[in-house]
Amino acid sequence: MEQAIEARELTKSYPPDVRALDGLSLTVPAGTIFGLLGPNGAGKSTTVRVLTTLSRPDGGRAFVAGIDVLAEPTRVRHAIGVVGQKHGASPEATGRENLELQGELYGIHGKELRQRVEESLARFGLAHAASRQVRTYSGGMQRRLDVAMGLLHRPRVLFLDEPTTGLDPEARSEMWREVQRLAAEERMSILLTTHYMEEADTLASEIAIIDRGRIVVQGTPATLKSYLQGDGIAVELANGTHARARAALARVADVDDVRVDGHTLRARARDGAAAIPAVLAALEAHGVGATSVTLARPSLDEVYLRYAGRAFSHTQDETEQTAHEHEEVPA
């Protein structure tokens, strides 16, 4: 298996006219953690659904673990583990029962199954709670159980759809360590979707940014950051029109890539610290007031902003408003 995932020109629309995937192509090398980043509605979940056989694309082809997703979905299901955005465990059943049912559905039985379940409970720190109903678990415990269930049949490719959304910081870093261990020790291929830049930066060896149903850029976090020359400058505008702010900056040397996003003016400068006084002076000369200025070293947020064309913090606000899982799918 050279490529863990290979998707070519995937398209999918939802009625009436939502184009969730618009010619998405993606290659995930085996043994890597691959981060798929994008705002809600960008097509992350749809991509995961297509690759995990939960949904069929309208066009294009996809191979997971070398198996054709459309032609042999059952074989793909045996080869993959899926940890969805929502909890997959039955709350009324105990942790052990959930794991056992999961194993049975994948064709693992008897002694082999019991052994794997106990190993898995121990490894994910759930042994003490194994006989308790899952409804009594904390969020972090439920998430660990979800991952344990996704791994029980030893998949070759693991899909983690926003695995740390809703977790407290401690549970999140615990999850990060586990994901890193899986990739390092078990050479598992992992596709991870996330809203958190920091998460992608920490975990993923390669990142793709998805927007409006297609991949807009792909590379290692370091490569992506190196595409951004210089620093980002963000100015909160007190007043003034966008046009005037743009006009003001057009005359400042060494500042380019000027964009206005709501009340925030963004630009790039080779040496940000040196450019700020000139930027502020130019704005003032054009009668545009500034309430604050921030300087940002190249970060994934900046990369995201550049390629997804919107500020990440902005899309994240929208995320928090839509608690519903099918945010990419209008009801």
Binding site: T52, H78, V82, K86, G88, A89, S90, P91, E104, L105
Partner: protein, 256 residues
Amino acid sequence: MSAIHQTWQVYLRNIRFLRRQPAYLGMTLFQPIIWLLLFGALFEAVAHIPGFHGSYIDYLTPGVVVMLALFSAGWTGMGFIEDIKGGVMDRLLASPVWRGSLNAGVVAYAGVTILLQTLVIVFLALALGADYKGGVGGVLVMLLGAALLGAAFASLSNGVGVLARERETLIGAVTFVQLPLTFLSAALMQRSLLPHWMQTASKFNPVNWAVEAGRAAAMQKIDWSVVGPRIGLLAALALVCAGFATWAFSRYQRSL
């Protein structure tokens, strides 16, 4: 083989919930007692209407067996709505499990509920003086008819639940169907005493098939000319409904 095994696993999952909720299990077993006593007292006078033959408890017992099958099997789809909302459904569908066994396991669970409730009624009615002229075999055929009807409605409920994905829609659909189907049958009232149009409608009513089959099997010397075709129709209906439910799962998946 693996389809049967998977069905068994899905069944076990459901039966565990029943075990874990003693209050629910208690109500499930108590309900038949209430129904038989309540309807027995309420409709006892029916036996005095000219044109009614035999004892009312003999008449009522198969009716209540079938009604309970209909009323308890109708709600199985609620479990799948919970599964969809909770994320369990996606996990199941991402696994290599055969879609048909998701439905079949729940249908088997509904069958066990129907078996338990029928046993309660059969013994209570016996204590109240019911005369099972069809013997143990006849009672088993009555149970079979009720179970097939229950299987059909459990599948329908699962299919509608998975397609609608909303509790309210399923509740509306189930309550819309249950009482009219009961009263368009000979469950509580002798068919010849129903208005003419209702007699005609009852010929096409699966609830009536199960009631008439149960009555002709358990409460008299088994009349296979009545029982055979009705059990056959119920079995066919159960299969068609299972097909519908299995289709609904793939329909649900395509809509994702």
